[in-house]
Structure formats: structure tokens, C-alpha cells
Symmetry: C2
């Protein structure tokens, strides 16, 4: 990268960070490119050079945030293939997955995207595919593999992958959708949701009866 | 009711119906009391006499819609106490519950409320309590009862109630949040999600091993 390219990339990141603050504070409709520019310490012209309009900036913000999270989830899920202690490793994965899904910034973006899904159906779809979609694909792959090794009894791997995911995340995630940042779940509650979700999953798809 | 009170109640309903159309079409920020009045065939003055401002009208619309759904869910859940064939009755309940949760109007209101949860935390909380909250309370009661009768092995009834609910509804509900009205689940898919969710629930909380 030339010095000029580096400076441009740095400015782009600064604009995205400013956009995160402004969109999370005011919602999509209430956010203005003026405020983003002011907060990023850039001219409006520079903001528009990087992001052609408010919709593009919002899209980029959401997709960049999601991609970073999805990459690490996917890597962790695939590690399960080498599991020596499946129950313990599933609990560990569940706890980490839940902790990530429940991050305040990601929750707020999720609320924004859901609220605007009627207006921006493509963004809704992208959020779904990049977020849950990639997790489900990785879990499906791993559950097939573990069933071949005799460690799980999964007949429909994509369905079992969804069951695993929702048994772990749905209770606190749904609360967070409606309660905003009010009364977030405690770490002890999150661990319990993860562990008990895994118990139910293994009762249905595990190989030893309880 | 006097004739005058009846006319007033009828007008109130007409305004709520118009509000449903306008809010679902434009979202909260985009909706105007002018458009609601025009669609209801009422004067703006009349609209404001019934609902003091846009926020109040939106709240009433959401809560009225939710209350109607929650009442029938609760009655159906409580019927489970007399179940003679638990697996069949749980599947039946699950299918009906899912059909109701997935109604387009309710889904759209849910998206609107989630999108505005930061601005209207009380409405978010009310949606949660009136909707899921009442279902969970009823399921908790019934699962305790069925465990006493030896038909389930539930140790933590509120948690089992949440597991039941999310095993049944989460897959299509989450898709619908992000996909808008695009590609809705087919009735056959919904039945399958309901039935397979019940299978997992019974594997964990039923009394006979599979």
C-alpha cells in the first residue's frame, strides 16, 4: 500500500466508526451524513467519496461488523471436529457463541436491521446469511462429521444445527430485542442458558441416554 | 352503551384499523396522523380526541393486536392440563402457536417494535410481557402440572417453557424478522418445525426414552 492508500483506508475506518456511533444513537432515519462527517473529523465531500450515500454507509457498517464476528464463530465451530470431550466442548462453544451474539453493539445493529427489513430487504438477507447462515453451515458440517464418528445421532444436520443455535441463544437474544439495553442478562445467566441448552440438545441428539 | 358511546367505540376501532395500515406501510417515523385520519374517514381533531399523540396511537395498536393473540394462546396452553395423549397434543399446540406467531401483521408489528425498542423501551417491554411472557407463564403452570402427573420430567418449569417455545418458533420467526415478507415459510415447513421441535423437547423432558 502506498502512503496515500494507507491514509485513505484509515479515513474509511474512522468514518465507519463514526457511523456506528451515529446510527446506534439516532437509528437509520434519524442519522445524518453531516453528523457522521463531523464526528469523523472529515469533510462531507470525503464521506461521500468513500460511501456514495447513507444507505451504502449503513450497509457497509452492518456487513463489516457482522463479518468480523462470523469469521471467529466459524473457526470455533470447525474446531469441534477434533473434540475429545464433546459435551464439554459443546458447552464451551455455546458459551462463547452466546457471549458474542449478545454484544451490545451487535444487538443494536440487529434491532436496526430488523426494523428496516421492510425498506432494505437485501440488507436483512445479508445480515441473515453472513451471521446465522455461516454459523449453521459450519455446525451442519461438524454435526455430520460427529455423527459419522458415532458421537452424535443426527439425521437432519441443518435442522439439528438450528436447534443447537436456538437452544443456546434464543432466550437472552429475544429479551434483548425487546428490552433494549435495559436489564442485560448477567454472565451467570448466560452460562446457564448455554449449558442447559446443550443438555437439551444432547438429550435429543447425543448417543448415551441420560 | 348509549348510541353515542357505540358510535365513539366504532370510530375508535376504525382509527386503529387505519393506523395499522399506515404504520405497517411507513414505519413509525414515516407514519403521519394526517394519513391515519384520511384513511379512517375522520377529522384530525377526532383522531386526537381518541389518541392524544402518535406514540399513544402506536402503543394502543400494538397492545390491542397482541392482547387478542395472547388470550387465545393462553387458553389453548391451559387445555394441555387435561391431555390424554401428550405427544399429539403438544404437536397440535406447537403447530397452532407457530401459525399464530408467524402471521404477517404480527410479524411486521414485531419488527417495528424491535426497531423502536431504543426509543420506546416501555412498549418493547409491554410487547414482551403481553406476548411471550403470558405464553411462558401458562406453559410453566402446565409443565409443573404434567410433571406432577408423571407425564413430563421437568425440573425447572420456566426454563422448559422457554425451550418448548423456542424449539417450535425460532427458526421461521428469525427468518421472518430478516427477510421481511419475502419467501415466507410454507405450511408444510411450519408443521415440520413444530413437530421436530416437539420431538427434541420430549427427548429432553419426556418420560419414556426414545
Amino acid at each position: 500500500m502506498t502512503a496515500r492508500e494507507t491514509a485513505s483506508a484509515t479515513r474509511r475506518l474512522a468514518i465507519l466508526e463514526a457511523a456506528r456511533t451515529v446510527f446506534l444513537r439516532h437509528g437509520y432515519m434519524g442519522a445524518s451524513m453531516d453528523e457522521v462527517a463531523a464526528l469523523a473529523g472529515a469533510s462531507k465531500q470525503t464521506v461521500y467519496k468513500h460511501f456514495i450515500d447513507k444507505e451504502t454507509l449503513f450497509n457497509e457498517l452492518v456487513l463489516t461488523t457482522l463479518r468480523a464476528t462470523a469469521d471467529s464463530v466459524q473457526a470455533e465451530v470447525l474446531d469441534l471436529r477434533d473434540s475429545g470431550d464433546l459435551a464439554a466442548d459443546l458447552r464451551d462453544l455455546a458459551r462463547r457463541q452466546l457471549t458474542r451474539v449478545i454484544q451490545p453493539d451487535l444487538l443494536q445493529l440487529r434491532r436496526l436491521v430488523i426494523g428496516e427489513a421492510g425498506r432494505f430487504p437485501e440488507l436483512g438477507r445479508a445480515f441473515y446469511e453472513l451471521g446465522l447462515g455461516r454459523t449453521i453451515t459450519a455446525l451442519t458440517d461438524v454435526f455430520r462429521n460427529l455423527t459419522e464418528r458415532g458421537l452424535l445421532t443426527v439425521d437432519d444436520a441443518p435442522l439439528a444445527a438450528e436447534h443447537f443455535n436456538w437452544l443456546v441463544v434464543s432466550i437472552p437474544l429475544n429479551r434483548a430485542m425487546f428490552f433494549g439495553d435495559d436489564r442485560p442478562a448477567t454472565p451467570a445467566q448466560l452460562r446457564r442458558y448455554a449449558d442447559r441448552g446443550v443438555d437439551v440438545f444432547l438429550a435429543a441428539y447425543g448417543t448415551t441416554s441420560r
